[in-house]
């Protein structure tokens, strides 16, 4: 325990060290720490925000998908209806056409039958005249007996 001038020297040295620390060390490091604290806090809040936004986006996407699915099914339904309509219409058209054609054919057939009947009638008339002339062995005046012959032909 012997005091000497060392005491004063150490006091001065201590004071200088304190001054140096106050001036050059503490503020810089402290500033860096505080800035980083702010950055970290900002980062954390940003992450939280992003998380919430992501959640929002997720629900929005799910919503959109649901809507799209609904629309798609609507479109499919409509298409099916349209297809059914077209099919029905085609079927109806076809039936109409068939009926028309059938009618035409029937008319044709009727006309042809009529024609054939006419022809047959004429031939029968002619054959009857021929047969009669052969039986009578003489010329029958076709004009005088025309009424008779026509009657005959009508009866065939």
């Amino acid at each position: 325990m012997d005091f000497n001038a060392t005491l004063i020297g150490e006091m001065i040295a201590f004071a200088i060290l304190i001054w140096f620390c106050v001036q050059f060390i503490w503020p810089h490091i402290n500033k860096a720490i505080e800035e980083r604290q702010i950055k970290i806090a900002d980062g954390l809040s940003a992450a939280e925000r992003a998380h919430a936004e992501l959640k929002d986006a997720d629900t929005k996407v799910a919503d959109e998908i649901r809507k799209a699915r609904q629309q798609a099914s609507e479109i499919i339904d409509k298409a099916q209806q349209q297809a059914n309509g077209i099919l029905d219409k085609a079927r109806a058209d076809a039936i109409v056409e068939i009926n028309r054609l059938k009618a035409v054919a029937q008319d044709d057939i009727a006309a042809m039958a009529q024609q054939a009947r006419e022809q047959l009638r004429e031939r029968v008339g002619a054959l009857a005249v021929q047969g009669a002339s052969k039986i009578v062995q003489r010329e029958v005046d076709a004009s005088t007996h025309k009424a008779l012959l026509d009657q005959l032909a009508a009866e065939v």
């Binding site: 325990m1 012997d2 005091f3 000497n4 001038a5 060392t6 005491l7 004063i8 020297g9 150490e10 006091m11 040295a13 201590f14 004071a15 200088i16 060290l17 304190i18 140096f20 620390c21 106050v22 050059f24 060390i25 503490w26 503020p27 810089h28 490091i29 402290n30 500033k31 860096a32 720490i33 505080e34 800035e35 980083r36 950055k39």
Partner: protein, 273 residues
Amino acid sequence: MASEPGGLTEYIQHHLTHLVPQVGKDGFWAVHLNLDSITVSLALGVLFCVWFWSQARKATSGVPGKGQAFVEIILEFVDGQVKDVFHGDRSFLGPLALTVFVWVFLMNAMDLLPVDLLPWITEKFGIGHFRAVPTADVNMTFGMSITVFLLIIVYSFKAKGFGGYMHELFTAPFGKHPLLWIPNFALNLVELVSKPVSLAMRLFGNMYAGELVFMLIAGLFSAGAGLAGWALYGMGIIGYTVWGIFHILIISIQAFIFMVLTIVYISMAHDHH
């Protein structure tokens, strides 16, 4: 080295003698300096400044390097201690506490060097006495504690003004009556003076005792001859290791206590009554 004539007592006495060259003439104006304490403490102070300053200079608020992170851990630890005790602007008290903590710790840590290492080196340069631990020197610890004491006074004046401080010194704790002025002042004086004294003596006592125990254990290394000597040598190694590990705790705690009490004393001066 204890085998030199004179044995353990002389060995220890030798180790407890400061390097004191005398500057100037004899008599009242003779200036004695413990060159060993001054050299080691200044070297460690410069180490502290350069180390922390180099980290502070390139301190980034982005991702810190390991060196910066380490410095920041110390600084935040100290800042937390100051924040707990002192409620005000920490732009002076913070650095003060940091300086106290790191400097005292570094000086205490000189105790962990082998007790003969620095004296052995200086002996090569013809310097006989060299004590490596500045905090085991009363001049060192009182140098710091008196500076702290002056800061207590300064803070008291700053916080309460000259009149307010004088009023407090003479009227607290007993009362305003003029007859009580002297007892009040005497009590406050004791309280005031006991602060730097206890602060310095605690650190000095711990470090001095620690150093002494290291010397005693080191004495075991050359305490005997033959088989018994080797047995003592082994005990010396074990003892030195155990005490060294325990001493890591002591030097940290002493540095911490010095720092905390510095903060407490100054904050008491700052916000009082």
